[in-house]
């Protein structure tokens, strides 16, 4: 064959093989911070998705207003799904280095973010100059995002779990809306009455899959005064009277009274879907669960109220808390970090603006008056301001949450290695909720052995 023709053949194959992978280069462009016009550009994630119309509009309005006030900053919003931190996707972004410049994460994500090598130490930038309300932010929350004395994220939300209950179903079942259950025995009695309404309504509903079962087990255990791991984090600490009580309560409701519905193996969305359809009388959750019920699950926030987490014989001895923050990607320029902090300060930490713009939220289909996000330390200026605004603009009966706020329960964080531990505890939860003949002692013993094994292998 002649040389030119040979070349042609080779070229075709080469172009097909190599060239195309090179064009892939151009699919990812990284724009580095500052451009010619002296503007600082930062990308920020957790923009609401299209289906959350009002939230999205609020966000976009905030961006526009912020850019008007700061003409030298350009905010590029990125939406990463309805759940801003869906673990597999979050892992993917971290491992791939495709997180945005300023990225959303849970308090429990700190370790993973550090391991990925994507985090930036922002200790020197986070101060009163960058965020005017910084000194009012609860120091406990800052501590959560601190490792070895270095701060890696700005907290923007904080929650603790309580008992969420459906007022409509309470009334139908003849229960007093203003006197919600205070102990697990009360919960059981109420659940029995509510499920007696029939129609597939569960009096009390609980998770047992996708690691959410273990998550809620933890909270239930805290209410009994227990802990998942020993203080040194080396051994499981739930195979005891308190752990048994947690499972016994659930077993009694599930099979003793048949008041938890027949559908089990639920995870986050499953339970809230049922709740949105008014098929759930009570469940434990954070105040923002009611927000999700409204924005995603076609429910009405007016139907829901919240009380403190019940305990075994009185108020709960503890409850699970958690929260969210924004991390900063490594290698940002100081200007970008400052711009990012400015944006977070504006949208997340200024009473009257962004997430605290209660005047704007009031007529929208979102609850105002929820006892959250509890970002500011008790007695701080920002807290007082926020509280006043919230009360003035509340579109729901704050009385519904008064009990929750008036009876603060000590908050505990999630255990070390939470996801792996939760995966084990899921099995105990699913056992008790799907097997009428489950042996609680055996379930807990197995789970304990498994968690110990896991912790031993980890260290």
């Amino acid at each position: 064959m002649s040389v030119p023709q040979y070349r042609k053949a080779a070229a075709v194959a080469l172009v097909a093989g190599l060239g195309l992978s090179l064009t892939a280069c151009s699919t990812k462009s990284d724009d580095k911070g500052t451009n010619a016009g002296g503007k600082v550009t930062i990308t920020v994630d957790c923009q609401p998705v299209g289906a959350q119309k009002e939230l999205l509009k609020n966000w976009n309005d905030d961006v526009a207003e912020f850019q008007r006030l700061n003409p030298d900053i350009v905010i590029k919003s990125v939406s990463v799904g309805e759940q801003c931190n869906n673990p597999p996707d979050f892992t993917a972004r971290l491992a791939g280095g495709t997180v945005t410049d300023v990225f959303y994460g849970y308090m429990t994500d700190l370790q993973q973010v550090l391991d990925s090598g994507q985090a930036m130490d922002i200790t020197q930038y986070a101060n009163k100059d960058a965020i005017s309300t910084w000194d009012s932010v609860d120091p406990v929350l800052k501590e959560v995002f601190t490792d070895n004395g270095k701060l890696y994220a700005v907290p923007v939300k904080n929650y603790s779990m309580g008992l969420v209950y459906n007022k409509v179903l309470f009334q139908q079942a003849g229960l007093d809306v203003n006197n919600p259950p205070k102990t697990w025995a009360d919960v059981r009695a109420a659940a029995k009455k509510i499920s007696a309404l029939g129609n597939g309504i569960a009096g009390y509903s609980e998770y047992s899959a996708g690691n959410t079962g273990g998550w809620h087990f933890t909270s239930l255990l805290y209410s009994q005064g227990g802990q998942v791991l020993t203080a040194d984090g080396k051994k499981a600490d739930f195979n005891n009277a308190m752990g048994k009580q947690v499972l016994q309560n659930l077993k009694d409701m599930r099979y003793g009274d048949n008041s938890m519905g027949s559908r089990q193996l639920l995870q986050w969305g499953d339970l809230l879907t049922n709740a949105g359809a008014n098929k759930v009388g009570m469940f434990i959750g954070a105040p923002d669960a009611t927000q999700a019920i409204v924005s995603q699950f076609q429910g009405k926030f007016q139907d829901w109220a919240m009380s403190p987490l019940p305990g075994q014989d009185g108020p709960a001895k503890g409850t699970l808390g958690g929260g969210e923050g924004y991390f900063f990607k490594k290698d940002l320029t100081p200007e970008q970090v400052k711009a990012g902090l400015k944006w977070i300060a504006y949208q997340k930490l200024t009473p009257g603006k962004g997430q605290f713009d209660y005047v704007r939220a009031k007529p929208q289909n979102y609850p105002v008056g929820l006892p959250q996000p509890l970002l500011f330390a008790n007695g701080s200026d920002a807290q007082k301001q926020e509280l006043e605004l919230r009360k003035a603009n509340a579109n729901l009966d704050t009385a519904n949450f008064a009990l929750f706020e008036a009876t603060p329960v000590p908050i505990k964080g999630e255990p070390r290695n939470a996801q792996a531990v939760y995966a084990v505890l899921d099995a105990a939860m699913s056992g008790v909720l799907t097997n009428p003949n489950s042996n609680i002692d055996a379930l807990l013993k197995t789970a304990e052995e498994k968690v110990n094994q896991l912790l031993a292998a980890e260290s």
Binding site: V12, G17, Q112, D115, A209, L265, A423, S430, K450
Partner: protein, 318 residues
């Protein structure tokens, strides 16, 4: 492992020299080199893809399984990842479940399409209609098909379709995915329903290539229907049967989306956890990509052992 897959066709064109090769015997070295280069030029695209997305990841997987990344730094940790994976309480249940699913799927998912294809091949009417029917579920996105089962068929209350039917027939109802005993059979059922169309079409195609005289001859020898299936149909489709068996085993060992959707992952007391789901848990939930890589290597070793055994068995048979 290549031998079982390369067909022993009567004519072996591969053995005779290529027309290009034949020519080069008589031509210059330069020409030989050039022809070889042409051959490799055609190969390069696919080979590069194999290098980057198959061969290299395999080596990298093994390397990763002996490393750990912490705080952005990667260090050698010896067998640590393996001991952590072996200590994972779901490790053995995951293997049990996966193997159980694979075996069940072989009985149901493998045999059923073959017999359905034989049956359909006999019909002179409604052929096209039946073919489309069997293939319909394949056209649903897999997640959709599984939600269909999860929400309607396997609903544990009496509002569920299967339970409503069982109840109407005065049979005991089931908890389906909430019962550890039913979890795997229910998953195999859903998986077979949504996947069998492809296999049926492939079998149908290969059945149509069986020469009719073979059946006629068998019939003259007095062979009944079963005998004809055994002595004509199966031997005549042996290659495709063997091929699909391999493909199916490899596919079912990767059981993932069924537990993820039908059982929300682990199912009742770990009755749905699969090896693939465990890889996913470690890699993407538990901040443990290295452990996940180690589990991948274990899976590789198991499958290599399996195919070695398979090869030895099929070699003995021949």
């Amino acid at each position: 492992m290549t031998t079982i897959l390369v067909p022993e066709t009567p004519r072996k064109p591969g053995r005779s020299p290529s027309p290009y090769a034949a020519r080069t015997q008589r031509t210059s070295l330069g020409r030989k080199v050039r022809d070889n280069l042409t051959g490799h030029a055609f190969l390069i695209g696919a080979v590069l893809c194999f290098v980057v997305f198959s061969w290299y990841p395999m080596v990298r997987g093994i390397v990763m399984s002996f490393q750990r990344t912490r705080r952005g730094e990667t260090t050698w940790v010896g067998w640590d990842n393996y001991s952590r994976i072996l200590a994972d309480p779901s490790f053995w249940p995951a293997w049990q479940n996966t193997i159980y699913f694979t075996l069940l799927a072989l009985v149901l998912g493998y045999a059923v399409p073959f017999f359905v294809a034989i049956l359909l091949n006999e019909f002179r009417h409604a052929k096209g209609y039946l073919r489309i029917l069997v293939y319909l579920p394949v056209m649903l996105p897999p997640a959709s098909a599984l939600y269909l089962f999860k929400f309607y068929a396997y609903d544990p209350s009496e509002a569920g379709l299967f339970n409503a039917i069982l109840k109407a027939l005065h049979l005991p109802t089931s908890q389906w995915m909430q019962s550890p005993e039913m979890t795997m059979p229910a998953m195999v059922l859903a998986s077979t329903w949504m996947n069998m169309g492809g296999a049926v079409l492939i079998y149908l195609a290969s059945l149509q290539n069986i020469p009719g005289e073979l059946y006629e001859a068998a019939e003259l020898d007095g062979a009944g229907i079963w005998k004809r299936i055994r002595h004509v149909t199966i031997p005549q489709t042996r290659l495709i049967l063997a091929l699909l068996a391999m493909i199916q085993i490899v596919a079912t060992m990767q059981l993932f989306i069924e537990p993820l959707i039908l059982a929300n992952g682990a199912g009742a007391e770990d009755s749905a956890t699969s090896v693939a789901y465990l890889i996913y848990q470690h890699g993407f939930f538990q901040n443990d990509l290295n452990g996940a890589a180690a589990l991948g290597v274990i899976m590789l070793v198991v499958l290599a052992g399996f195919s070695a055994a398979y090869l030895r068995l099929s070699a003995k048979q021949d």
